[in-house]
């Protein structure tokens, strides 16, 4: 069991390294720009307002209703799952306090893409 886990981690590290090497520099820059855009939307009171509930590195006066956003890549190896959590948190947990940002059209699809990119940097 432990061996397999180690193997998987090793494999994914290699994969990450490989894919990072394979990526053209422009693409990385574009992702950073998107993540920066996502941060802005996330911290806009009328948009994401994520730090009403979540703390994360650099958040100012964050609330403590929800778990802190840390190590997001490890917790969501599948980016699509992360996006789905933001799009409609009630799908995973109907009682959740987290607003269904996509389903209730609090944010546009593009805005959710940008926020997902930003959360992935945390």
């Amino acid at each position: 069991m432990r061996k397999t886990a180690k193997l998987v981690i090793a494999a994914s590290t290699v994969a990450t390294l490989l894919s990072a090497m394979a990526l053209a520099p422009q693409v990385v820059v574009a992702d950073e720009a998107l993540a920066a855009e996502g941060k802005k939307i996330a911290e806009n009171r009328k948009k994401g307002n994520c730090f009403t509930c979540h703390n994360y590195e650099g958040a100012h006066l964050a609330g403590n209703i929800a778990p802190p956003l840390v190590s997001m890549k490890d917790r969501f190896p599948d980016k699509a799952k992360l996006r789905a959590q933001i799009w409609d948190a009630t799908a995973a947990n109907p009682a959740t306090m987290m607003p269904p940002f996509g389903r209730h059209e609090v944010l546009t699809e593009k805005e959710i893409d940008a926020i997902t990119e930003w959360v992935y940097t945390l």
Binding site: N49, F51, T52, C53, L61, A62, G63, N64, I65, T90, P94, A95, M97, P99, P100, H104, E105, V106
Partner: protein
């Protein structure tokens, strides 16, 4: 049948296993309290009348200082004068003194819940007061000042909402309960999300108060409301600026979740007030009070 389904849905959202078959207002009340007693072990029933200040020492200290020369004092005096001027004594039991603890109540004649503010309004109209000309409106201002005076005379009385054995009264209670636990608005929050499950937590810089004790101290006086009224008047402030009734607060909390606030003193909010206040039965009234 449809009603049952709605209630079921709302309760399953609560995440508590409900004893549907034998849930009574009394058992709801006990469950409600047990939840808070467990969550805040040091906080006693009577402390809950102080909202967030029951939970946070630093804030409590600051608040106690503000209550020494309270901003609502002049409004209470004006309320008392208006109460006399409009001859309101005759409309109420005990001359209107020490009666707020019995509100809201179920009116058998109409089969509906009645609030103190509705009885104040009815009394004014009954006494031939031109409420429009006198600018007596629900939610704030002069009418809230009359309500604040009546609350003041009822300080120390224990909240005592009665749910008579009448199907219409039970329906009203149930509809209030459903409202309280139902998710609403674009942000999809229920009252319980903020004031039960996350009471004591911080929503950004806002400490969330427990719903237990919420109703003991209304109307409240808020700086934010005072500034808003004064601004509308071009900066000139009046003694009753800053006062708001509980249903004004409901509207504000509905807006926070981007739900359209409902018309005050219609069935939905009255039933909510009925359920909400019943949960605080036995807590001593201490209104009006200052709030953030």
């Amino acid at each position: 049948m449809k009603k049952l389904l709605i209630t079921l849905g709302a309760i399953s959202i609560m995440g508590i296993t409900p004893l549907l078959t034998n849930a009574t207002p009394q058992s709801d009340l006990e469950e409600f309290r047990a939840y808070f007693y467990k969550k805040f072990p040091g906080v006693k029933l009577q402390d809950y009348s102080n909202g967030i200040y029951a939970l946070d020492k630093a804030r409590r200290f600051e608040w106690q200082e503000s209550e020494e020369f309270p901003a609502y004092e002049e409004a209470v005096e004006k309320g008392e004068k208006m109460f006399a001027k409009y001859g309101m004594k005759s409309c109420f039991k005990n001359g209107g003194v020490s009666i707020k603890q019995n509100y809201p109540y179920f009116d058998k004649k109409t089969g509906k819940v009645r609030t103190l503010e509705e009885d104040i309004m009815a009394c004014l109209k009954n006494n031939g007061v031109d409420v429009k000309a006198e600018k007596l409106k629900y939610k704030k201002g002069k009418l809230a000042a009359i309500s604040a005076y009546m609350a003041y005379t009822s300080r120390g009385k224990k909240q005592n909402v009665v749910i008579p054995n009448d199907p219409a009264a039970m329906d009203a209670y149930q509809s209030g309960k459903t409202f309280f636990y139902a998710k609403r608005g674009q942000l999809n929050f229920s009252c319980a999300d903020c004031h039960v499950y996350n009471a004591g937590k911080m929503a950004r810089g806002n400490l969330l108060s427990p719903a237990l004790g919420h109703t003991s101290h209304f109307p409240v006086w808020r700086k934010k409301w005072a500034a808003k009224s004064a601004k509308k008047r071009g900066g000139e402030s009046k003694p009753f600026d800053g006062l708001g009734t509980i249903q004004r607060r409901y509207g504000g909390c509905n807006k926070q979740v981007r739900a359209k606030p409902l018309k005050v003193h219609t069935a939905a909010y009255n039933n909510l007030e009925y359920f909400h206040t019943y949960m605080s039965n036995g807590i001593k009234l201490n209104g009006p009070a200052i709030r953030q």
